[in-house]
Amino acid sequence: MIKVTAPKSDGLRITAYHIDALLTGLKELIKPSRLTIHYPLEKRWTNDRFRGFIINDIEKCISCFQCAWACPVNAIWMYRAPNGKFYPGIRYEQCILCHFCVDACPVGSLQGTTIHDVAFPDLESTVYLPEDMAKPPNVVDEAKYIVKYEVENGNLIMRRIPRGSK
C-alpha cells in the first residue's frame, strides 16, 4: 500500500510559485499566444484534397454499386431511377467523409469537394437523394481570412491570409 503524504510546505518555494504564476499570467495578458479563430469570419486553410462533401455525375455513373459496397458505415443507399438504373444517394447523418466511395468508383463519377462545414436544419435534410448529389451544397461563406497554422522554430504560430490572395 502506498501512503500519500502531504508535501512539506516550504514558504520560500511557494512564494516563488505564486510569483511565477502571476508573471506567466501577466505575460499572456500582454501578448497572448492564442490560436483561436473567429470561425464565421475566418476559416482554417484546407488542403486541396481535403475530404469533404461528395458530388456525383449521373452522366458518368454506370450504376455498378461499388460505392455502396465500399461504404464502411452503410451511408450510401442506391435509389432506383425511372430509366431502371440505380444511383447513389448519401445519408450525411451517417457519413464519416472517408471518401472510400470516391476511391472505389471505377469511372470517376463520384468526386470529392473540400466543403466540410455545413449545418442542417433538421434530420430529413441530411438525406441526399441522387438528384441532390449533382452539385455541391449551397454554403454561405462569409470568411474574409484564411487561417494557416505553421511551425516556426518549434513554436506553433497562426498566419492570417486575406481571402483573395493565395
Partner: protein, 351 residues
C-alpha cells in the same frame, strides 16, 4: 452649504442654477453629501466600476486562457457593453420562485442586501470635499458595516432551502470567521500606525511614504483577506461552480440573480476603496485644474480600478483551494501574519 466645484462643467452648472425649476434640483445634487451619495464614490462610481470590472474579468481570463472573451456585442470596442446587455437580459428574465423557499426572506433579502450593503459608501471619502457623513471614526464604522454582506448571504442561503445553497451558506460562515479576524487586525494595525480612524488624517499621514511600504505585512494581509472576502480565486469557495452550483445564490434567477451577483462586486469595490485609502496613499497625485474637486477622486479611482483589475485578474491565473486549505491558511498563516503586522505598527509608533 458647500457645492462641489468642477471647472470643466462650471458654465453649464451656472446656467442650470439660474433656470427656475431645475436650479434648486441641480443645487441639491451638487451639494457635497448628496453628490457623494449619487456620484462619487456613490452610485455612479459603483456602476462604472461594476461594468468595467465585469468586462475586464471576462476579457482578461479569456486572453490568458487563449480565448477572446465577450466580443459579439459592440465588436469594435471589444465588447465593453456586454455587462449592460447582460443587465437588460436579467431584467427581462422571469424570476422563478420555487415552492420550497421561505418566500418573504427569499424575495426581500437580496433587495435589502443591495441597498444596505451600500451604507459603507456613506462613510468613505473620495476626496477632501466628497464625503457624505463625516465622523472621526469613519474607517472603523466601514469595517463594521462590511459584515452586513455576510449576514445577507447567510440569510439568502437559508431562505433558499436548497442543498447547494445550504452547503454554500455553511462555507460562507466558515470562510467568514477565518478571514475576518485577520482583516480586522490588518485594518487595526494601520489605525495604530496612523493613530487615527479618520480617513482624511490617514491619507495625510501617508504623504511621505504609502502605508503599503510602512507596513507590508498588513498590506499583504489586506490583499489576501479581500480576495477571500469577495470570493475571488484562489479562494472561490462559497460560489464555486463545480462544487456548489452558485452557493447561496443557486435558486435565484433573473433580476434577483443580477442583484446577488452585484452584491459581491459591491463588497469588492468598498474593500478596494478602503485598501487604497489605508495603504496606497489615498488620493495623493498631481492636482488637475480642470477636474477641480474631482481631481482627488480621479487619483483615488485610478487606484481602485487597478486593485479591482488585480483581483479579477486572479481568476485567470489561479486554480482553487479546498475549503480545509482555506481554513488552514486563515487560522494559521494569516493569524500569524496579523500578529506580525501589529508588531510592525507598534514598532513604528515607538520609534
Amino acid at each position: 452649504m458647500y457645492l462641489v466645484q468642477i471647472p470643466l462643467v462650471e458654465p453649464i452648472i451656472k446656467f442650470l442654477l439660474g433656470v427656475p425649476v431645475i436650479g434648486p434640483i441641480v443645487e441639491f445634487l451638487m451639494w457635497e453629501p448628496v453628490f457623494a451619495v449619487w456620484f462619487l464614490p456613490g452610485l455612479v462610481g459603483l456602476f462604472v466600476v461594476l461594468i468595467y470590472t465585469i468586462w475586464w474579468e471576462r476579457k482578461a481570463a479569456g486572453r490568458v486562457q487563449w480565448r477572446y472573451g465577450p466580443l459579439q456585442i459592440s465588436r469594435r470596442t471589444g465588447g465593453i457593453i456586454q455587462p449592460v446587455s447582460d443587465l437588460i437580459r436579467y431584467m427581462l428574465q422571469e424570476i422563478i420562485l420555487p415552492d420550497e423557499v421561505d418566500m418573504p426572506y427569499f424575495l426581500h433579502v437580496p433587495v435589502l442586501a443591495f441597498f444596505v450593503a451600500l451604507t459603507p459608501l456613506l462613510f468613505l471619502p473620495a476626496g477632501p470635499h466628497l464625503i457624505a457623513i463625516y465622523t472621526p471614526y469613519n474607517i472603523l464604522i466601514v469595517v463594521v458595516l462590511l459584515s452586513i454582506f455576510n449576514l445577507a448571504m447567510v440569510a439568502m442561503g437559508w431562505a433558499s432551502n436548497d442543498k447547494w445553497a445550504f452547503i454554500g451558506t455553511v462555507r460562507e460562515a466558515l470562510v467568514y470567521v477565518s478571514y475576518e479576524v485577520s482583516f480586522m487586525a490588518s485594518v487595526i494595525s494601520m489605525l495604530i500606525l496612523y493613530a487615527t480612524a479618520d480617513p482624511f488624517r490617514a491619507v495625510s499621514s501617508q504623504s511621505m511614504l504609502p502605508g503599503a511600504l510602512m507596513n507590508p505585512a498588513a498590506f499583504l494581509l489586506a490583499i489576501i483577506t479581500t480576495a477571500m472576502a469577495t470570493d475571488r480565486y484562489p479562494f472561490e469557495i462559497v460560489t464555486n461552480e463545480s462544487d456548489v452550483v452558485a452557493g447561496p445564490f443557486t435558486e435565484y434567477g433573473g433580476l434577483m440573480f443580477g442583484l446577488t451577483m452585484t452584491v459581491t462586486y459591491e463588497k469588492g469595490y468598498i474593500m478596494s476603496l478602503l485598501i487604497s485609502l489605508l495603504f496606497l496613499g489615498g488620493w495623493s497625485g498631481p492636482y488637475i485644474w480642470v477636474l477641480g474637486d474631482l481631481s482627488p477622486a480621479f487619483w483615488l479611482g485610478f487606484r481602485v480600478f487597478l486593485l479591482m483589475m488585480f483581483f479579477s485578474f486572479l481568476r485567470a491565473v489561479y486554480p482553487n483551494y479546498r475549503l480545509d486549505q482555506v481554513l488552514k491558511i486563515g487560522w494559521k498563516t494569516l493569524l500569524a501574519l496579523s500578529v506580525v503586522s501589529l508588531i510592525i505598527s507598534m514598532a513604528w509608533r515607538v520609534l
